[in-house]
Symmetry: C5
Subunit: 100 residues, 5 copies
């Protein structure tokens, strides 16, 4: 999985019927130091992530390994909202600090 | 998924029999600011996208998760025509503005 | 799919038994302007492509979505010989012109 | 597979139900000379790897080819703790030396 | 598939039970001119490749399309030992010349 920050949304009305009702989040991928990378991903959301939150995104066929996304043409899925990222015993990110 | 602009078409007559009747769109991938990237993708079209429209493209096995593309050697599929892209509460792209 | 030019062949005699009889083409990937990229792919051929022809190559599990390649450890397949590539209503490539 | 060093952990409480109880390791990918690359991966751990250990990470659908990870939206898995890496008959890495 | 040179081995004792007995080769990926690329791959070996030999490596789910690797978390497999690579009718590599 990659670490990403929710930075926006994408709306599409004319789409694959199986994608009706799916919310698409625009994710800015972050590097291992938490800095934004040029890469982004438009991913379906399975956990109710909001703007600015850090999330884990799974890509490829992994994006369809849930009860709700199995038969949909999805290649990216937000699978979790991140609480903490620890690097070399140092706390790089904490959602609690962010929310204050 | 990635955001892409439809920039052309590819025609192939001598091809895998299962691909007969499939329309191939040439897609210019766009970055999270809507600028063209060097990357492109030739994708099957499932939604009737036209030249210059912004679309969502799914890659990998996701491209075969539709009733029409399951048993075809496709690795990219246009899954939706984009109406709006919002980044940090700013409207980066709106199809309505584009169509005027 | 990506656009590629057939630029050679790879021969392997000591290989996975399921790959016996499979012809491996060396493909030079092309960018959206038809210029060679550093990337290449060794792909199985399902359509009888010849040297210098432009082809469409599918990668990943898509390479096994044919009657002949389903149970083989292939991750790239030539799925079509390209007749034309049109970009922004301009004819970038035409096999007919190439063959003259 | 890629060679990586365990450099941290990621904690997520609000996540896909199927990922409950899965430990996420932050992996720094290493190049063939053992030097850190900018790339990282957040992977599930199947072997009990600890901080600073070198591991093998499988990505894509491979990450779900175990009894415990089959129906989970995982795209990366630590599949082994590395004992030695030998390059051109030279011992690049030995866990035993590291542990001393 | 990609062309690679066998440049080493990786040994892991503490690993996924399904990988017991699998030999891991360290592969240096080569470009279309036979020059080493920074990319490498740790792959299972299905053909008995030795140090310095040029091989074809399949990645992704292709690595599990053999009788022996189907239920293992592998994402890379050596599928053939290369005898010759011909580029534009020029013989880039020949195993026979290499072995002399």
């Amino acid at each position: 999985m990659q670490i990403a920050r929710v930075c926006g949304t994408v709306v599409s009305n004319q789409k694959e019927p199986s994608l009706m009702g799916v919310k698409f989040l625009l994710l800015q991928l972050l590097d291992a130091e938490g800095k934004p990378m040029p890469e982004y991903e438009v991913a379906a959301d399975s956990v109710g992530a909001g703007l600015d939150e850090w999330v884990l995104v799974s890509r490829g066929s992994a994006a369809r390994q849930t009860s709700s996304s199995e038969v949909r043409p999805l290649d990216a899925l937000v699978v979790g909202i991140i609480d903490t990222v620890s690097v070399e015993n140092y706390l790089l990110y904490s959602k609690r600090d962010q929310d204050r």
